[in-house]
């Protein structure tokens, strides 16, 4: 508790110019993280270059809490590719495997997906009346993964208060940092 009162007095006593510089420090740190994410988006051409697996529908390949690295790639989609896609009315992207591909002469490609651990294909998950997904629904192909590290993200999403507390604390430390 004493640490927080010390920080409070420290902030109160700072000259405005010094405070502006400390705020800039904090902003630069946050923006560096943001910009690295955006650069990854630019490089991998994928809307969300790193995703966390939320469900166990791809076991034994991927477990809940794994981190996946995505890359859109230029090669055509084939059965067996693991793709992450978003369906029209849902926010949360789904990571499943492609099981059927129909390439039409018009250039449209229809894709059907299914989770390895599911007993039925994904038609039940698609929007009403939709039987296939297309390239515009796909965010990227899974190219690599890190096991279990995403559990931190899952915990922070399940308990948002934890997220705010952590970020707030980090911000306070940077503002009153001595270096």
């Amino acid at each position: 508790m004493e640490m927080f009162t010390d920080m409070y007095y420290q902030l109160k006593e700072m000259r405005p110019r010094t405070l502006a510089h400390q705020v800039l420090n904090l902003c630069m740190i946050v923006c560096s993280a943001l910009m690295i994410w955006k650069s990854l988006m630019v490089l991998t051409e994928s809307e969300s270059p790193v995703v966390v697996v939320l469900s166990g529908s791809m076991e034994p390949a991927f477990h809940r809490g794994d981190i996946l690295f995505l890359h859109m790639g230029y090669s055509p989609f084939r059965a067996g590719d693991i793709v992450v896609f978003k369906v029209a009315d849902r926010d949360i992207p789904i990571v499943h495997r492609v099981i059927k591909v129909h390439e039409k002469p018009s250039g449209v490609v229809d894709i059907l997906t299914k989770g390895d651990n599911n007993s039925v294909d994904d038609r039940g998950l698609y929007a009403a009346g939709q039987s296939w997904i297309n390239k515009e629904h796909i965010i990227g192909r899974a190219r690599g993964y890190l096991p279990y590290i995403g559990m931190v993200t899952i915990i922070m999403n399940d308990y948002p208060l934890l997220k705010y507390c952590l970020v707030g604390l980090m911000g306070l430390f940077v503002l009153t940092s001595k270096e």
């Binding site: 000259r15 110019r17 510089h21 902003c27 630069m28 910009m35 630019v42 051409e45 809307e47 270096e179």
Partner: protein, 240 residues
């Protein structure tokens, strides 16, 4: 050294009691304490006090040009980052905008890093020249991590703070370039064993250095020569 510190503390205690008597509204929290051994806080505290002495008692004005440049560059980068985040088009269509924002951000960030690493170094305050002086002041300080020797240096800025990259630099090893006046002292002289900071001896020490610098500058100007520090280059003032 212990005897000197005790004498300093007794003097300071006497002065503090006087001051507390005069300014009754000053609460106890205004007495600055630090954890002894935390060199980062100590350095920051001493630097802030140097700024206070120079701007308050000696009436120097701060030269904010370089500080403003850093702020502008920094917030320009932050602005680009924000723009990339709030740009209205969905992902694949805003690829070029994202590329531009990322490139701009990393460029601004690079400029800022350059300013910090090559121009500013250990300087923490720049001041405009006062009265008869021709050059501004660049104040730098150094307190190595596990040491108790605090060094303070004043060097001239002939063309204001924006020209810092070509002005004489202070490194914490004394004996630097012409016109640089440096002083080094143990911080144990300014803090008692509870970590309470005694302001008066520190202010006196700083003022002594500033007077030596001003005298040196006046002498140099009196000779009418470009070569500053007529009394001797890299003159070191050892405080008693």
């Amino acid at each position: 050294m212990g005897g000197k510190a005790k004498k300093g503390r007794d003097e300071a205690e006497g002065e503090e009691e006087e001051r507390e008597g005069e300014e009754e509204e000053e609460s106890v929290e205004h007495v600055k304490t630090t954890v002894l051994g935390d060199t980062a806080t100590i350095k920051r505290l001493l630097d802030d006090h140097v700024a206070e002495v120079l701007q308050g008692e000696l009436k120097y004005e701060e030269d904010v040009a370089l500080s403003n440049v850093k702020l502008v560059v920094g917030f320009a980068g932050v602005g680009a980052a924000l723009a990339s985040h709030v740009y209205p088009k969905p992902f694949p269509h805003n690829w070029w905008v994202l590329l531009g924002c990322c490139a701009w951000y990393f460029a601004m960030s690079g400029v800022l890093q350059f300013l910090l690493s090559y121009v500013e170094l250990e300087a923490f305050l720049q001041l405009k020249p006062r009265a008869a002086q021709t050059a501004g002041l660049n104040i730098a300080s150094s307190l190595p991590r596990f040491s108790d020797r605090y060094s303070l240096a004043i060097s001239p800025l002939p063309h204001g703070s924006l020209s810092m990259w070509s002005a004489p630099k202070f490194r914490h090893v004394p004996g630097g370039a012409d016109g640089v006046y440096a002083a080094e002292e143990s911080v144990t002289r300014f803090f008692d064993e509870d970590g309470v900071f005694v302001e008066a001896p520190f202010a006196d020490w700083v003022k002594q250095l500033v007077k030596a610098y001003e005298a040196g500058q006046a002498q140099a100007q009196g000779h009418g020569q470009g070569r500053a520090g007529g009394g001797g280059a890299g003159k070191s003032v050892k405080a008693e």
